[in-house]
């Protein structure tokens, strides 16, 4: 009888049933409703991620194609409001985050629908243009084709210089692929050209995707819900370990253009029109570009600014993971102060019970969990160690 009622629900009621907002609440001892405290879980996950990162050589100059599946399956509504909308939203976030972490890298967008693959944007360094292009093309129909998408990406990535890392990130909604030929051959081709393929599925595990990732050294994951999807896609923003054969030292020619004076007027090469103010001048051919990083349209020089390079630097020298201090170890008689070195907040929670905290193995300063996360994920400098200098 329950189902009959469920079927007779009004649309607005159904929104609640599907949203399941009550599941994120729990009752505490006194019967009050509280949101489920997920910080502990989040922190545990974050610690696990941190442990995995040893100091290895990483590919900092990445050429990444994002393949977005816009087949019929992307219109499914098991993600709210639809898989397609969620993908678009997260891709936007991801592209911004990606360029923030990898200023020297390039992204391109490919979509697949109706059994074919289309190149939406070519490899480029400007987040805005990619996002704009994707938002304008959000329509889904037909079947997805993994082979066509891979072939297209393969032909595009084959031309990039050898120091760059070739990567594909496929966001796959469909559960099948409609291919013109033997997909296995294409996978082998990608493997040969050292293209690292990763897939994030939105519905269920598919054998061929798993196979693809295993063969090419990528990762395969399936999203449980929107937040999990976000987490999975953001895992692709830090640079992956470099492939051994490519790990040879390579000199790359780069230009550091100067910012033009405000008020100067020049024709820029990116928009091919006269612009006032801002802009950068290529140090080799003196042509004007609007944004960094980019490649000079005239002489082909890679143009970046020094902060970009500095931002990429931390991937190579990550801060060592902080050691956890269990509350029992951290007794008040100890010489350590009971405040976080970062935010100066007390490390004691209510009732004078010590909370879990961490300490830097180098400078032995204590930090609270929030600062720990902030230091490792955003700051990339340990305040304790820096203050000793």
């Amino acid at each position: 009888e329950d189902e009959d009622e469920a079927n007779g629900l009004e649309a607005w009621e159904r929104a609640y049933t599907e949203d399941r907002s009550w599941e994120s609440l729990q009752e505490d001892e006194s019967g009050l409703l509280r949101p489920i405290d997920t910080t502990a879980i989040h922190h545990a996950q974050y610690r696990r991620r941190l442990r995995a990162t040893a100091r290895i050589q990483k590919g900092l100059i990445r050429y990444l194609y994002i393949v977005v599946d816009l087949s019929k399956a992307a219109s499914e509504r098991d993600f709210r409001p639809s898989r397609m909308a969620v993908i678009a939203k997260q891709v936007e976030l991801f592209i911004r985050e990606f360029f923030d972490q990898n200023p020297l890298s390039h992204v391109g967008l490919v979509t697949t629908k109706d059994g074919v693959a289309n190149c939406l944007t070519d490899l480029g360094g400007s987040p805005e243009s990619h996002i704009k292009a994707l938002m304008g093309k959000l329509e889904c129909s037909g079947d997805a084709s993994l082979q066509n998408a891979l072939e297209l990406v393969h032909s595009n990535l084959n031309q990039i210089p050898s120091y760059g890392h070739r990567e594909v990130l496929i966001l796959y909604s469909a559960l099948s692929t409609c291919d013109p030929g033997d997909l296995m051959e294409t996978i082998q081709k990608c493997k040969k050209s050292k293209i690292r393929c990763s897939v994030i599925g939105l519905a269920a595990e598919m054998f061929i995707c798993k196979h693809l990732c295993q063969e090419t050294g990528g990762t395969y994951s399936v999203a449980l819900d929107e937040s999990h999807f976000k987490e999975l896609i953001l895992e692709h923003s830090p640079p992956p370990p470099a492939i051994a054969e490519y790990a040879t030292a390579n000199l790359i020619k780069m230009g550091f253009p100067q910012r033009a004076a405000e008020g100067s007027v020049a024709i820029c090469t990116c928009h091919e029109e006269a612009k006032t103010g801002g802009g950068y001048t290529c140090p080799r051919c003196k042509v004007r570009v609007c944004e960094l990083p980019t490649e000079c349209r005239v002489c082909g020089l890679t143009l970046i600014s020094s902060p970009h390079l500095a931002r990429s630097y931390h991937h190579l020298f990550p801060i060592v993971p902080f050691a956890e201090i269990s509350p029992s170890q951290n007794d008040p008689n100890h010489s350590f102060p009971n405040t976080c070195f970062g935010c100066q907040q007390s490390l004691l929670s209510q009732g004078n019970k010590a909370e879990l905290s961490v300490s830097c193995p180098k400078c032995k300063q204590q930090f609270c969990l929030d600062c720990d996360m902030y230091i490792h994920e955003s700051l990339h400098n340990c305040p304790g160690c820096e203050s000793f200098r």
Partner: protein, 759 residues
Amino acid sequence: MKFKIEEVTVYFPYDNIYPEQYAYMIELKRTLDAKGHCLLEMPTGTGKTIALLSLITSYTLSKPQSPIKLIYCTRTVHEMEKTLAELRLLHDYMVKCIGPSAKMLALGLSSRKNLCVNNKVLAAENRDSVDAGCRKLTASWVRALAAENPDVPSCEFFEQYERAGSAAVLPPGVYTLQDLRTFGKEKGWCPYFLARHMVQFANVVVYSYQYLLDPKVAAIISKEMQKESVVVFDEAHNIDNVCIEALSVSVRRQTVDGARRNINRMRQEIDKFKATDAGRLRAEYNRLVEGLALRGDLPAADGWLANPALPDDILKEAVPGNIRKAEHFIQVLRRLVQYLEGRLETENVEKENPVSFVFSILNHAGIDQKTLKFCYDRLHSLMMTLEITDTDEFLHVQTICDFATLVGTYARGFSIIIEPFDERMPHIPDPVLQLCCHDASLAIKPVFERFQSVVITSGTLSPIDLYPRLLNFNPVVSRSFTMSLTRDCICPMVLTRGSDQLPVSTKFDMRSDLGVVRNYGRLLLEMASVVPDGIVCFFVSYSYMDGIVNSWNENGILKEIMQHKLVFIETQDVVETTLALDNYRKACDCGRGAIFFSVARGKVAEGIDFDRHYGRLVIMFGVPFQYTLSKILLARLEYLRETFQIKEGDFLTFDALRQAAQCVGRVIRSKADYGMMIFADKRYSRHDKRSKLPGWILSHLRDAHLNLSTDMALHIAREFLRKMAQPYDKTGGTGKKTLLSQEDLDKIVLEGSMNDMLY
């Protein structure tokens, strides 16, 4: 790893062991200690085979004063090879640990078709013609001729094997069929006869059920096996049917016609011999008068299928006088065939018991019971005398004699059923006379009596208390093990209603209902859109499958399904089905996705695995009851009720549910695997049906999943698939242990607390 179970040191070739494997070994060891029989149910994918092999061989090693032979029976050649491969791994490990004293001889034995290395013989297409081809080259009289006249063809492998005599032995080791062939080719010895010879000396023998259960074959192959043997029947959930088939015969019109041709030919041969070599026929007559054993000291190559009746039931007497002369025997056969043909012409279904059937043979054809009983052996002797080698041509008359001997020997547990046409196609006359055995315990009784321990094991033996009654024995241990899992990797569901909330079932009055057909179609369609890669569907029968696929085709559902996945169908043709399966696998591999339509009780349901992405979901449409109007089934049910007090309903449900469990069990073949199972019939939600499913399925069947409709099942499927796609920790992390290492085991042995680990 090495560990101790009581006083036995068990050698196990892997670094870790599942707790249920350990528990399984303990029970097995107790059975061996008690020298009794046992029934053990353990889900597939938990390593039954290696646990069995490892314990029994280790047990033998620990008791050198009374060596035990292991006879391992499998259903298919494929399983035989898999078992031998595991055994080799174990053997290598044991030799590494203990040294050469652990060496043993283990081999597989199969028919000539699988073992022959003579290309000329192997060219024949089926088993019977390979057998006949071999006989044409190796029969003693052919060889005698060949010795005189080099133009007569003979088999060089067999000749060399004979010449080597007692020197022809296999050195210790583990031999698969392939190894035997390679070894035979290398040495120039016939692998088939070598294997048959070595079976008596081997420590482990792996062969098919028939070699032990079918008296015709068992008397030749397994005669020499010592009493101190452990017999293992693996995948034994259908063992009662195998037993019954071993003692059942059916005679059709073609059989009768063929037998008549055979008799004529024998007649001609006799005339020819009379003219040329009358002495030979006389010699045979004299031999029969003296009542010499018919087979006894015949050379191995002449050995032919033995008497179809069980050894204890064969009379140790001389052949009766009225069939000692070849012409007389031919006359008797002729009358018998005549009589059977007359019976086949009936227009009604007839059912008779053997006693009255024998009596009516006596009245109408003048053949008494004793004569009937000797038919098979007499035919055998005659064919030897006439030096007939193309035995595959004489299958029909063999069937007739087979029938005569069985009907003359057994008065109880059998019945004779004559049907003028197949009930499903009443317009096509296809008369068949069947001698059906109803008592599975008959064929297996000698096995229980002869061997020290018999182990019956499978993934699905529930309800476990029914098997001892069906097979009429007292197990010392009967236990069902569950699977220890790190995550809930199976998701059984009972679907009782379609998307329109109306009940679905394949019950007779509902199965042709258009609403039910459509609901089943929608279910498959919706599932095809959320389940990746492979889906397997089982239907209750071929005719039902044909019907429902047809109507899906008509109302366009099939076309919609095809947009998601390709559809493959099992047919009664083996080659076609193999091809379909091949392409199904390909479609699953390349990501196109596929659905396989198959039939419960078919070939696919029994022997083919749909593990990993080849089967993420299995849908069982309906409850696979046997065709309840079949006369044979009715007769068997009656017999079971009268003899073993098993109620008809109980047996039918048991039989249907073990088939269903077998079907759905195809999807999960290891612990790392995952799969969903949908029982799509409202009858599964009833307790009496559901409770007969094996424990390892039941323990995952949640109450909330007992009464689902299509949309709810869809929701559950989505969630389940997402959950299963997440990476997981194989060892089970911090929770309960599902993989035991050496240290864990040592601890258990010290504390003696196995049960805490398991539950």
